[in-house]
Symmetry: C2
Subunit: 246 residues, 2 copies
């Protein structure tokens, strides 16, 4: 048994409950730690092998043997450096204005999907990502890693989606709901500010969103697949929103 006092602490942060209680989350691997250092997030501590601490110039890193770091992290590879980071203050959804676009996610339960969606939103310059309260937590290690650093720049906001959408409508934003049965987006006028709502693959949009305000749109299908995964649908629709902005 290792007696490394950091081991228990970092391993506790593998669990959502502990992350939320402590207000901390983990960022793992050279590439992501470098992205983190370029962000405005507050770092609680670094944990690394002596080689990697030296390589990255982490003068205040706590040095651990590789086999302890392996157990501290959640990755199969890339555990040679781990940062413990303060979770930024949670902000509620804010109605978009001007030319802003919001991506609103309803019940996304897979952390890899959420991370990929944050990365797509970041690429296309989406101003806010709204998550329904039953979406997976954005500070889940799999989401952090899949976002490839976009989480550090994103404005991810959790809230009651039907209420946030009503607020946006009150502020004169347009609402577009991605649904297989929706109108071909190529034929839809896309106005801004806008909220683009996407549901989970398995459950689609919840009733209060489905039957709420907004226009149903779809990525036109030219082949035989029954559905697109949520990240592919988001990329295709963000592409179309971007195109109309040009």
């Amino acid at each position: 048994m290792s007696t490394n006092p950091s081991l228990k602490f970092l391993r506790s942060l593998h669990q959502r409950k502990q992350r939320e209680e402590q207000g901390l989350f983990l960022v793992q691997g050279r590439k992501l730690v470098n992205e983190l250092r370029a962000s405005s997030l507050i770092i609680d501590s670094y944990h690394a092998t002596s080689e990697v601490a030296k390589e990255l110039g982490l003068v205040d890193a706590r040095i651990h043997p590789p086999h302890d770091l392996e157990r501290m992290g959640t990755l199969e590879q890339g555990n040679e450096v781990i940062a413990v980071v303060r979770t930024p203050a949670a902000l509620p959804p804010r109605a978009p204005h001007g030319h802003e676009l919001v991506l609103a996610l309803d019940g996304i339960s897979d952390p890899g999907n959420l991370g990929t969606l944050l990365r797509i939103a970041d690429w296309f310059g989406v101003e806010q990502v709204w998550c329904s309260l039953d979406c997976v937590e954005a500070y889940n290690p799999k989401c952090v890693q899949a976002s490839m650093g976009s989480l550090f720049r994103s404005s991810v906001r959790y809230g009651e989606l039907p209420l946030a959408i009503m607020d946006a409508v009150g502020a004169n934003a347009e609402v577009y709901k991605a649904e297989a049965s929706g109108e071909n987006v190529f034929n839809t006028e896309l106005k801004r500010p806008a909220v683009l709502v996407l549901g989970s693959e398995s459950h689609g949009l919840r009733d209060a969103v489905k039957h709420g305000p907004g226009r149903s749109i779809s990525v036109p299908r030219f082949g035989s697949a029954e559905s697109l995964n949520v990240a592919a649908a988001a990329a295709a629709l963000c592409m179309e929103f971007a195109r109309r902005k040009n």
Copy 2:
């Protein structure tokens, strides 16, 4: 130790070498097995619990206890029915003609990514998916599952990508290479027949493809993400190809 004679056989098909030697692969779970039955693929055998065999009407299924099926399959959930399927004959890349679009994949090593790409290609009616010889095998269980049945309909063809591209050029097809440094696709004339080439996230396009014929195009970036994952880039670019077809 179980003495179930199917156990060793199905477990051997978890390995690429055995799948290739036997010319067989696995399809797992109710949803995918149903999609499989609607396809033209030849099924070697079904393995299921008695309940699921009855539910799906698989009269010739071999019945196993759930704990054996769990070990026969690769999934965490959904091993209650497994089909052993004959791998269709391998076809070489064929130069596209008319209005055909080919998705050409260079060095995609993640089976989940390849499956998602097959699904995107299927959605957008892409006629062929070409894979470089170092792409992951399409009959990898993770790829089969991520393709959500699109593998059963797809025309996935492995070959030397630079040669296939030269062939396509000889047949008057246009070649478009997705690269971060490429021209904004919104400003690019997209002609058909066409080959759209995408590289792996970690290594990009190999030199022989990068420096070969074709026009470099990119998904325009409006935010700060360093890159898009390959499936998101494929979805965005297929969307633009689909739009121009309209």
